[in-house]
């Protein structure tokens, strides 16, 4: 199991992801600096959360023009798995590897608290298969721009294809996302972007261990 964690200037969840994956997979992930252009093959590339380039202009916009992006796109076109969490999700939408856009929370506040997300019935994907649809995972969110937007036509497509990976509970949508979306998959199910932080519910001192379940399942699915 070879995992790469991409580090941009301003990434700040890189170490958290590293610890989570290392503890679950017992393998040491590799940090990749955003200026690298020639990267080896990995089973999974993770784009961690943070404030890449200070989130100036738009979240993820400046990062999505970094040299590493071309390698990430090549990896994607080979069907490689990619996980973008929080700012990583924003970068994936800015690079168009995932549909939609993350705009400012409708409450106009940064929000950090635990929340339940519900695993959806999706197309085949290493990120969700292995979970019974409607399984609830309790994980923290921490973002200012997590309000997922797609237009109606694209939304219908996402629903039809089974690309919606996670939803917030109906009355607990923290940010105004359409359809309470918390995470979406690419058309081939190999790329996931999600706002919640599963790497913050992995260890016994965390409020929940559901993030551990998420990574465990992902690693099993990728290895099988």
């Amino acid at each position: 199991m070879r995992v790469a964690i991409v580090v941009f200037p301003g990434s700040n969840c890189d170490r958290d992801i590293f610890e989570a994956i290392k503890s679950i997979s017992k393998k040491t992930p590799k940090f990749i600096w955003h200026k690298e252009t020639d990267i080896e093959n990995f089973d999974l590339i993770v784009i961690p959360g943070g404030f890449t380039f200070g989130d100036y202009l738009r979240c993820g916009a400046l990062a999505s023009n970094s040299p590493i992006i071309k390698s990430i796109k090549d990896h994607a076109s080979r069907g490689g798995a990619i996980l973008g969490i929080c700012n990583g999700f924003q970068i994936l939408t800015e690079t168009k590897l995932l549909p939609g856009t993350l705009i400012r929370n409708n409450v106009l506040k940064f929000l950090c608290h635990d929340i339940d997300v519900i695993v959806q019935d999706t197309l085949p994907s290493p990120f969700t298969w292995g979970f019974k649809p409607l399984t609830k995972l309790n994980v923290p969110i921490a973002h200012n721009e997590g309000n997922y937007y797609v237009n109606d036509i694209e939304l219908k497509k996402l629903i039809f294809n089974g690309q919606i990976a996670f939803k917030y509970e109906k009355n607990f949508n923290p940010n105004g996302s359409v359809e309470n979306i918390a995470g979406v998959l690419s058309e081939n199910g190999r790329i996931l972007g999600m706002m919640p932080h599963p790497e913050r519910s992995v260890f016994s001192h965390h409020n929940s261990l559901d993030g551990r379940l998420f990574f465990k399942n992902l690693i099993e699915q990728l290895l099988s």
Binding site: P9, G10, R15, E19, G49, F51, C112, A142, E199
Partner: protein
């Protein structure tokens, strides 16, 4: 700017506009043997300012206890350091950004956070947590909402972006802060004991390095720039608000920590207040050497900055370092990788002077010892005033039902949950956060990777505190209580208190009663720190928090740090069902609860004058040791200290999250309602006597046994149940859901 102006001799008038007094100016002229030019005078004025020289408080800060077996670094460096074993140490400090936050709440608070973080990582530590203590005016004041939302956004704006969790603090409201809000930010970092960096420069000939963001005209001393002689182009020189850039802050943090892994750095210091001036002067004078800087090498954001402006700019995200000779190239590569400016700007010299060159001319030549050691130390007149009012409980209590009183207290903005605030901070980044908000009385982060096999690891516990009412009514006793309460907060969370940092926020020290508040509270803090063995390792003083002659409430804030040697010993606040609650600790209030200076008095009498509760520090320490012993024997299931609001509100806080109920076992003498007993009941339920803790246990017998052998007073309150009703037999019954609603909705209703 006209060059001849900046090099011309400074007049008395100009010196006074820079904030120097006539005597100070004369002293300067005498000591340096010449009349300083404008740049030199600017540097002297900055070094002699209250902010840099602590001239009003220095004399009194010296009485604080600053050493102990576990103290690695006391006050005097960028931050204090304490030993936590396993070759690791905790670096921490608190700092105020009060005035800037009133002018621009967002930027003021953000740069406050950025500044305190640099103080911590400049010593080689990776910051692991942030705390903040906030004071605002009345909630009904139109400005309060604007200031509060701006400050909270600013704190989050910096902390969230740089990726350090903000895990706790305090927010209080009082009209005395209407025009002088307080924003005190505290940072806590972790360092390996053998990788600590200090600021004393060393090694003649070694290069002086500037790294980080470029220098602009930010925050240059306002009074000075108003002087028309400085330039014809006055508009562009108006003092400006400092703008923080957490992104550059993050890059600087990572670049510095990366460079610190090598052995290329000899000393390092961040550029904080008075920028390049205080950092260069302090580094050189601490190292007993001189420093020479070529101002043409400083990375500038704007063209044509004068030597005066460059030296006094407070642009953010900058550091000054002394490297080993020949290390420049390797160090530069690291900063280049992080896209940061790196410039060799000068060298260390033998002569103990600060020499500045610009365009090949010497623009400043000042003796260092004079700037640092002979900066004024004032012996201001003071009068420690304690309240001469002594009220009886019957003068305070109101004819209202217990329920009505309780709901008022829980729904009071100074008691209600601050969740609306702290949910705007990223509290879980870095993955080590264990307790925030009301999970326990202290905020807790795990020491990263401290677990091994079955051992779950160690943690740091932090608490911030200040009860201004007590300080106002009795500065010495109030000072003691503030420290005692901070320590109690750590102990009831399973921690061992180790040391404190403090932020002394007061009004104008030229008034003797304000100076008395300062002196008195320092005396109280000193005594408590000695008794509780928690030395002061760092701190900050913010004076002149006054508008139109009206001062803020005295606000000496304590930030206490402790260690939890096994995270399985952490105690949370929430009781579970079928646990027995006990009051543990000196229980004078069994007979006459102390209602003077209380939240009860503040809310219902619109006043809080009177005496303050007494704290017996010996008993306090015994109580802590007792709690630690109970905890080691696994007798405590949850615990909470009894502070603001007294017993009943504190019981409610323990029951809230599981929505429990309880049948309160009243002291026998007040079991039957009558007029006199009502008086005692109010005192018992809402009095704020010190040194008391509520614990819940499944093992009452063991607890009673221990308390007897240790001679500690305990009192059984009753057993938790699932009714969601708190029953005060024959008097009243209280609905926990109603409490929860008031507790959670008060702040959002005020500020959303």
């Amino acid at each position: 700017m006209k060059k001849e102006n900046i090099n011309s001799e400074c007049t008395l008038n100009q010196a006074m506009e820079m904030g120097l007094t006539e005597e100070e100016f004369k002293l300067i002229c005498k000591k340096i043997g010449k009349i300083p030019n404008l740049t030199e005078a600017g540097i002297c004025s900055a070094m002699f300012s209250e902010h840099c020289s602590y001239k009003s408080s220095k004399k009194w800060l010296k009485i604080l206890p600053v050493s102990g077996d576990h103290v690695i670094q006391g006050p005097g460096e960028n931050a204090g350091i304490i030993d936590i074993g396993d070759n690791q140490a905790i670096v921490f400090k608190i700092e105020s950004h009060n005035h800037p936050s009133f002018i621009d709440p967002y930027q003021g608070a953000a740069t406050g956070v950025g500044g305190i973080l640099r103080d911590v990582f400049t010593m080689g530590a990776r910051p692991i947590a942030l705390m903040n203590v906030l004071r605002f005016g009345e909630t009904s004041n139109a400005m309060t909402n604007h200031l509060l939302s701006g400050v909270v956004k600013g704190i989050g704006g910096y902390g969230n972006c740089i990726g350090i969790p903000t895990i706790g603090g305090e927010t209080n409201f009082n009209q005395s802060y209407n025009s002088n809000i307080l924003v005190n930010a505290m940072a806590i970092g972790l360092v390996n004991k053998n990788k600590i960096f200090y600021s004393a420069a060393s090694g003649v000939g070694n290069p002086v390095i500037y790294v980080g963001a470029k220098t602009g005209r930010d925050g240059i001393h306002g009074a000075t720039m108003a002087s028309a002689e400085f330039s014809n182009d006055t508009e562009s020189q108006k003092p400006t608000v400092q703008v923080g850039d957490p992104f550059t802050g993050k890059l600087l943090l990572e670049a510095c920590l990366e460079l610190m892994k090598t052995d290329l750095i000899l000393s390092i210091q961040d550029m904080g207040a008075a920028g390049l001036t205080s950092s260069s002067v302090e580094m050189a004078s601490k190292g007993n050497v001189g420093i020479e800087i070529d101002l043409d090498e400083i990375p500038l954001r704007e063209k044509n900055m004068s030597s005066y402006e460059i030296m006094l700019s407070e642009s953010q995200e900058r550091m000054l370092m002394i490297l080993k000779k020949g290390a420049e190239e390797d160090a530069k590569q690291i900063f280049k990788k992080w896209d940061l400016d790196f410039a060799v700007i000068g060298k260390i010299i033998t002569d103990k002077k600060i020499i500045l060159k610009k365009e090949n001319k010497t623009v400043c030549n000042l003796p260092l010892n004079f700037l640092v050691n002979e900066s004024p130390e004032l012996n201001r007149e003071y009068e420690i005033k304690t309240s001469n009012i002594n009220l009886d409980n019957k003068d305070i209590i109101v004819k209202k039902s217990i329920k009505t009183i309780l709901y008022k207290i829980i729904g009071n903005e100074n008691f209600a949950s601050k969740k609306w605030i702290y949910e705007q901070y990223d509290s879980s980044v870095m993955g080590d956060t264990i307790s925030i908000g009301n999970k326990s009385d202290a905020s807790i982060v795990k020491i990263h990777n401290s677990d091994k096999g079955k051992f779950q690891g160690k943690a740091v516990a932090i608490s911030t505190d200040c009860n201004s009412k007590y300080i106002l009514n009795n500065p010495i006793e109030g000072g003691k209580i503030t420290v005692a309460e901070a320590a109690r907060n750590l102990v009831v969370s399973g921690g061992k208190p180790l040391a404190i940092t403090n932020n002394l926020n007061f009004g104008n020290p030229e008034k003797k009663e304000i100076m008395g508040q300062i002196v008195g509270s320092i005396k109280g803090i000193k005594e408590a720190c000695e008794q509780l063995n928690t030395p002061v390792v760092s701190g900050n003083v913010s004076l002149y928090n006054e508008t139109n002659g009206k001062s803020i409430l005295p606000t000496p804030v304590i930030g206490m740090v402790g260690v939890i040697d096994d995270i399985e010993k952490i105690i949370f606040m929430n009781a579970k069902i079928n646990e027995t609650l006990f009051i543990v600790g000196q229980d004078e209030n069994k007979y006459n609860g102390f209602l003077q200076s209380s939240l009860y008095q503040e809310i219902f009498c619109d006043d809080f004058s009177g005496q303050v509760p007494h704290v017996n520090l010996k008993k306090e320490k015994n109580l802590h040791d007792f709690i630690i012993k109970l905890n080691n024997n696994k007798i405590i299931n949850s615990a909470h200290d009894i502070s603001d609001g007294g017993l009943l509100p504190c019981i409610i806080e323990m029951l809230l999250s599981n929505k429990l109920g309880i049948n309160i076992n009243l002291p026998s003498r007040i079991k039957n309602p009558n007029k006199e007993n009502l008086l005692f009941l109010h005192g018992w339920l809402f009095g704020e006597d010190q040194s008391r803790i509520i614990i819940s246990t499944n093992n009452p017998d063991k607890l009673i046994e221990f308390s007897k052998s240790e001679n500690i007073d305990i009192c059984c309150i009753g057993k938790t149940n699932n009714t969601g009703v708190v029953e005060i037999p024959k008097y009243d019954s209280i609905c926990i859901n109603k409490c929860l609603e008031l507790y959670n909705n008060t702040i959002p209703n005020l500020f959303s």
